[in-house]
């Protein structure tokens, strides 16, 4: 079932068109990988899904993006509410300079939750879901900046999960991490898809092949091809996809 369906999406930075007529369906509780060379528009596309592009001046978005049956870009959509349903993890781990506890509790607190017991529960559940609980349970009140890069990134995932989002967007979440930390995050992603719909941008085709169910290949603002990951990597339909995944360019 399609959790998010995108139709005829065009996006412009000023006069420059960054995305051309994108049609894509994102399946519920699956991992969808967006691949393509730098500057192909995959991150831009990801950021349309929780309207993070709104933060940039002179961005114009056209077309239809639906989260279930709600048009994300409809005039009266509450962007704040949308971002609670669609969480995001960024390329570089970006925990707040606060304690581990405060980082995870940040979203629920802004949402108006004050009850200490409820917050404690959410923090524990989220950290467990992000496979970080065992490592940090004794130092929840210590600064998040004291964690390793990989731990920080899992903390950012926990922080996003605390809002119980339906969709989790990940923008190259492992590109700043070492191979061991990367492996942990990948394992985590495969567990998370039981409960969450995940869209991940990645530079690593191996990563896309390892963890995703579906893959979409972007090139110069066009969506070239999308298919089951296994199929796209073994029998691509488009010559350009084949060239890219066999390493002939990009």
């Amino acid at each position: 079932m399609a959790k998010i369906s995108v139709k005829d999406l065009n996006l412009y930075y000023g006069d420059f068109q960054a995305l051309n007529n994108i049609d894509l369906k994102i399946e519920e509780k699956k991992v969808t990988a967006l691949i393509g060379p730098s500057g192909c528009g995959k991150s831009t596309f990801l950021r349309t899904l929780n309207r993070m592009n709104d933060l940039i001046d002179h961005v114009k978005t056209e077309g239809c993006l639906c989260l279930e049956d709600q048009d994300i870009y409809d005039g009266d959509v509450d962007v704040v509410a949308l971002r609670r349903r669609v969480g995001m993890v960024f390329q570089k781990p970006n925990p707040f300079p606060k304690s581990i506890y405060e980082n995870v509790a940040y979203g629920p607190k802004r949402y108006g939750m004050k009850d200490k017991k409820q917050l404690d529960e959410i923090v524990e559940r989220s950290l467990k879901e992000a496979a970080l609980w065992e490592e940090v349970k004794d130092r929840l009140n210590k600064s998040a900046l004291g964690l390793s890069g990989g731990q920080q990134q899992r903390l950012c995932i926990a922080r996003a999960l605390a809002m119980k989002p339906e969709v989790l967007l990940m923008d190259e979440p492992t590109s700043a991490l070492d191979p061991i930390a990367t492996a942990k995050i990948e394992e985590l992603i495969m567990n998370l898809k039981e409960n969450y719909t995940i869209v991940i941008v990645t530079h690593s085709m191996q990563q896309a092949a390892r963890i995703s169910d579906n893959t979409a290949f972007f090139l110069m603002g066009d969506l070239i091809e999308t298919d089951k990951t296994q199929k796209l990597f073994t029998t691509p339909r488009d010559k350009r996809t084949e060239d890219y995944i066999t390493g002939r360019f990009g």
């Binding site: 971002r83 960024f90 970006n94 996003a160």
Partner: protein, 281 residues
């Protein structure tokens, strides 16, 4: 010329320029402390002036300056931080934005006596506050606003964009993001701006001359609509306007003014350090 020699020359010149800044500062402060320390006594700090200010203390001038600085900060800090937040977080970077920035830069270059005249025209006469602490504090607030806005803007700009993104992506509103992530991180820089502002507000003479300061007023101000004595103006008076003024009183007043500014700096620096520690935790 070989590299080592160039390196030595550059090092010498830079050391020299550093000394050029440090040595006069130390000399001035040292000189004032040396000449003025003998005057400082409990009576000098807490008594009313007597006999045409040649005897007694400078208590009303100290209190007047404290009130003025606190009043100035009370007006300028919220207004300055608010403007800086608007400019960095909300304003779109169009023509209006550039115009506002230009206005702020120009305001910073306006001579202080012009602020005094402006304060006299607007606060003292037009708004009818009279020559009063209120008019003086408002005038000084206008004077230090550009400093506070510019410093706060720099501080806000230095907050990593990734913090804002992380907060917004968690479904926080813009204002929640500013309150919980942006402002705490920018606070040390904002406090630095406030420190610079306090230094100026406490030391300016021309604006208060026109808006608040009394030549001789041996009682404490009772309300914000009262006139008051203030240290910089008092220093000017005892140095130039009163014949046969004992030398040490002049230096005593100067030393007290320096001391008060120093105390404000120390408090602000302590606040700054506290915020810095909080950011690291």
């Amino acid at each position: 010329m070989n590299k080592q020699l160039k390196e030595k020359i550059a090092f010498s010149i830079l050391t020299f320029t550093m000394l050029l800044v440090v040595v006069p500062t130390v000399l001035i402060i040292g000189f004032i402390v040396y000449k003025g320390i003998g005057t400082i006594s409990w009576e000098f700090l807490t008594a009313m002036p007597r006999k045409g200010m040649t005897e007694g203390g400078i208590f009303p001038a100290i209190v007047g300056t404290l009130y003025l600085v606190l009043g100035t900060i009370a007006f300028a800090l919220p207004l300055g931080i608010g403007s800086a937040i608007y400019l960095t977080e909300y304003a779109t970077h169009g023509k209006l934005y550039k115009l506002i920035r230009l206005a702020i830069l120009n305001l910073a270059g306006v001579p202080s006596v012009v602020y005094g005249l402006f304060g006299l025209g607007l606060f003292v006469l037009f708004l009818g506050f009279g020559s009063s602490l209120l008019a003086g504090a408002l005038t000084l607030a206008c004077l230090i606003l550009p400093v506070i806005i510019t410093a706060s803007e720099e501080a806000l700009k230095s907050v990593p964009q990734s913090y804002r993104e992380a907060s917004l992506a968690l479904g926080a509103t813009k204002w929640q993001t500013i309150q919980n992530v942006v402002l705490p991180h920018a606070m040390p820089g904002i406090v630095t701006g406030a420190i610079l502002g306090i230094g100026r507000a406490a030391g300016e003479t021309a604006p208060i001359l026109l808006t608040v300061a009394a030549f001789f007023l041996p009682r404490l101000p009772k309300s914000f609509f009262d006139q008051a004595m203030a240290l910089p103006y008092h220093l000017y008076i005892v140095s130039t306007q009163v014949p046969n003024m004992p030398e040490e009183i002049k230096y005593g007043v100067a030393l007290v003014l320096l001391g008060i500014v120093g105390i404000f700096f120390a408090i602000a620096t302590a606040i700054r350090i506290k915020f810095k520690m909080a950011n690291r935790a």
